[in-house]
Symmetry: none
Subunit: 62 residues, 2 copies
Amino acid sequence: MEAADRLLTPGEVAALFRVDPKTVTRWAAAGRISSIRTPGGHRRFRESEVRALLEGEAALNA
Amino acid sequence: MEAADRLLTPGEVAALFRVDPKTVTRWAAAGRISSIRTPGGHRRFRESEVRALLEGEAALNA
DNA sequence: TGTCATTAGGGTAATTTGGGAC
DNA sequence: ACTGTCCAAATTACCCTAATGA
């Protein structure tokens, strides 16, 4: 189940979705996307999940 | 309890958290993560603790 | 012994967080 | 209901040189 997938920064995820990093933070806070926190409190996102979200929407639209 | 206390280098821990190796060093200096010092002063981290940090945060986010 | 990638250290930008408001 | 922007504070990233590790 758990793959050693890479982690993405909020800025990277925001760039992929073409939204503001703040919006990504809101998604994480709302539980719409799972996040990992560094000991310092910063968030990291699973690339596999982000990609599934991106491609998933596209698939549903086809 | 099967603590696979394999030791990880700052670079390896940094890769897992998707942060800079210097950041891992800062965590150790701040006491956010326990570290072992080599006689030469370099730091090593317990894999079990690092993994608990990663997976622990993720599990809370179900 | 020598090589070479990694790490420590200190200092300065850039990013992220959190909150509330529009 | 959702997003972008403002703010201040904290965390993280990148710059360098010297030492350590394998």
